[in-house]
């Protein structure tokens, strides 16, 4: 079982079949995570570089643990500590890393399309996008999908509502593609000042009112307000945003009984989501984190060129 592509740049490029292959592989690896000795020899002798130009705790740790559990040699490079600060360009950095013959570079960057630049110029290394600007965050969408499928079994026909700052969210874009490809319908909800141009053309329903947008939803995904990316705030105050677009117990009471609440994290408790709910019975937030490791193990394996699944 393998994917016939060099790089993993976004969910948009994947077929449903490919998504299913990744998830099936991830399910096999999930079992490894529960063993007393959490290590298999699958990627022994393979080198993975996690090249992070942007701060990240969960994603970087998750890829690093995933690589180590597969016995790959994992090297972390963070832009702050590298030559980037000395004025080296992205491409020079990447070419230098390639000269050390890594098998995979996992890249996180604040510029949309940065992984495309690497993929174009590094012919012998697979690039896995760990989040590029406001473009895509494919491993996040895949772990979200894995989490939903553990609970719902089947995604076809489900209704998903994604709430918040769609304009600046790579998680939203990857999840829209992923849920649609797996047969769900997707609605986006937020103030118009937080919804990007022509978002409707992605095939989503658009709501400016939270209650209307959440009506009949099987899955509600609350996005984080990314204050660090916004120069002119698209809403007047956090209080006002929270009142109109935050998820609280009152709103929850109007939803389906078996609704799932998700959040890509980190959570701004009390802003987009009420503190009680983030820890409550509907919440899958920590399952998401656990599944993240299994999904990233699957991605590293599938893009490593290793053909035998030795677990």
């Amino acid at each position: 079982m393998n994917l016939d592509r060099k790089d993993m740049l976004g969910i948009e490029d994947l077929s449903r079949k490919e998504i299913e292959i990744i998830l099936e592989t991830a399910n096999k690896f999930a079992e490894v995570t529960n063993r007393p000795i959490k290590k298999v020899p699958t990627l022994r002798g393979k080198t993975v570089i996690c090249l992070f130009f942007e701060n990240s705790t969960r994603t970087r740790t998750s890829f690093e643990i995933a690589g180590k559990r597969l016995s790959a040699d994992v090297v972390n490079v963070s832009a702050q500590a590298s030559s980037v600060k000395k004025g080296e360009t992205l491409l020079d950095t990447a070419k230098n890393l390639q000269a050390m013959h890594p098998d995979i570079i996992v890249c996180r960057h604040s510029s949309a399309g940065a992984c495309h630049v690497l993929a174009r110029y590094l012919k012998n290394t697979s690039i896995i996008n760990a989040g590029d600007g406001a473009h895509e965050h494919p491993s996040q969408a895949l772990l979200d999908m894995m989490t939903v499928m553990q609970v719902k079994k089947k995604v076809d026909g489900l209704k998903v509502a994604i709430v918040g700052d769609i304009t600046h969210s790579r998680v939203a874009r990857s999840n829209i593609y992923c849920f649609q490809k797996m047969g769900a319908s997707v609605a986006v909800v937020g103030p118009p000042s937080m919804l990007p141009c022509s978002i409707k053309d992605m095939g989503v329903d658009v709501y400016y009112n939270l209650k209307e947008g959440l009506k009949g939803a099987d899955i509600v995904m609350m996005l984080r307000i990314q204050q660090e990316r916004i120069s002119h705030s698209p809403f007047p105050t956090l209080r006002e945003y929270s009142r109109h677009y935050g998820l609280n117990n009152e709103t929850i009471s109007t939803l389906k009984k078996d609704v799932l609440i998700m959040h890509p994290g980190p959570v701004n408790r009390g802003v987009e989501i009420d503190p009680d709910i983030a820890d409550g019975p509907y919440s899958l937030i920590l399952s998401q984190v656990t599944n993240g490791v299994a999904v990233r193990m699957a991605l590293l394996y599938l893009f490593s060129g290793v053909k035998t699944l030795d677990i």
Partner: protein, 436 residues
């Protein structure tokens, strides 16, 4: 005096309404005679056989970045003018965003001297509107004019302050200089790197709405009306911008405008894989905007010029993250085939295309070129409209290679370029010598 006879070609000169089988006799650096085929006798003349070719007044590019002084790693006056003549241009007008900025006579003199010593074609400098392109104080506009600047522009450093723009227009009017505007409201375009559209949403790149351009065009038209000065809108890219200019022209306001080949050839759909050679300012717009540009070209008298906005950039400016990459592409070597594609598609006639490359820009800037009238300087472009070729990166003449048209099949190219009666480019031989 040396004589050259260009015979057997199809001669098109919109300034005289000529389109047909005419021969042209050059004597020294001037055009001596234009006469129906076979009626010109000059026994001692060197003969250029232009059979199957079009003989046109020399092309004028009114929007070029030559990058010298200051950014010689991108382009020099020598390399930029070499690219110009190989694309059929006999004159280029170079923008002021050099380092130092062309905001005073010493920089203009430097450019003129370099152009004289190393240029393959005529170079007309464009001066800055404000000192250092900072938008704060007027540059030495009269001094720039005296040194040979043909217009003033802060180009991409668009004057945001309306009162400053008003002052610039009023003052420039006294010296008969057009003010060229790169119309962009920076508060709306800030951090934007492409057209705002479904494509920008998909790519996760902040877009620049058409409104950012349209609002500034509207402001500058109003200020041209208020001051009576001449505003020239550079690289117009939007449907509403075209409407505004058209209405202003109908109302008799002194406004002119240009279009670039990339804005009538490409749309933002080309950006799908973050190739920075498709990053421009203004950005590549929607298919509807391209349609509007073509409609306006068909209608005539809205656009005054096709201009390349030739913007050479090195790999350190382009082979990087999309949102960090510089805007702009080289255009001198591909303008003619891209414009000829419109002619083949029936958007405009060959005579109208030539007008937009010659008397159109000459008229905007008050230049004496752009014509084959007897007695005029012998600046002539001979091109083969049907010559099929592919833009090979290794054969690009410009020092920079940032073109989205690399490896693309093209049709039509300059065969011989003559400046002041001197052959400066021959397709068989390359550049054949500086013009002066």
């Amino acid at each position: 005096m040396k004589k050259t006879l260009i015979k057997n070609g199809r001669l098109i000169d919109p300034s005289q309404g000529i389109d047909g089988a005419f021969d042209l006799l050059i004597s020294g650096d001037k055009i001596a005679q234009v006469a129906p085929q076979g009626r010109t006798s000059a026994a001692d003349a060197e003969i250029i056989d232009a059979k199957g070719m079009v003989v046109s007044p020399g092309f004028i590019d009114m929007h070029t970045h030559l990058r010298e002084p200051g950014f010689e790693y991108k382009e020099t006056i020598a390399s930029g003018t070499a690219a110009a003549v190989s694309g059929g241009f006999t004159s280029v007008c170079c923008m002021a965003n050099t380092d130092p900025v062309n905001d005073n006579a010493s920089v203009t003199d430097y450019i003129n001297r370099k152009a004289h010593d190393s240029g393959f074609c005529r170079v007309y400098p464009i001066g800055a509107v404000t000192k250092g392109l900072k938008g704060e104080e007027l540059a030495s506009i009269a001094e720039l004019k005296t040194s040979g600047c043909v217009a003033i522009s802060d180009d991409g450093n668009t004057l945001q302050d309306g009162n400053m723009m008003r002052l610039a227009l009023s003052y420039a009017k006294g010296f008969d200089l057009p003010v060229i505007t790169h119309s962009m409201d920076k508060s709306l375009s800030e951090n934007g790197h492409m057209n705002e559209s479904f494509m920008s949403t998909k790519l996760g790149i902040k877009g620049i709405p058409n409104a950012a351009e349209d609002i500034m065009i509207a402001r500058d038209i109003m200020l041209a009306e208020l001051t009576g000065a001449h505003v020239h809108v550079a690289h117009l890219s939007t449907r509403q911008g075209i409407r505004l200019v058209k209405e202003a022209k109908q109302r008799g306001i002194k406004v002119t405008c240009e279009v670039t080949p990339h804005h009538f050839t490409l749309t933002d759909a080309s950006l799908s894989d973050y190739n920075t050679n498709f990053k421009m300012s203004p950005p590549l717009r929607s298919a509807d905007d391209v349609r509007a540009i073509k409609e306006a070209l068909s209608e005539k008298n809205i656009f005054d010029a096709i201009a390349t906005d030739h913007a050479p950039h090195g790999i350190i400016d382009k082979e990087i993250e999309f949102d960090k990459a510089a805007s702009g592409i080289i255009g001198l070597e591909t303008a003619l085939p891209l414009a000829l594609a419109l002619v083949r598609d029936g958007v405009l006639g060959l005579d109208e295309m030539i007008r937009l490359f010659t008397m159109g820009p000459a008229g905007v800037l008050g230049l004496s070129g752009g014509t084959l009238k007897e007695g005029a300087a012998a600046d002539i472009t001979i091109f083969d409209p049907d010559h099929a070729w592919v833009l090979d990166r290794r054969r690009i003449v410009s020092k920079s290679k940032n073109s989205p048209f690399i490896d693309m099949p093209l049709k039509g190219r300059a065969i011989k370029t003559i400046v002041s009666g001197k052959l400066v480019f021959d397709a068989m031989r390359g550049q054949t010598g500086v013009h002066s």
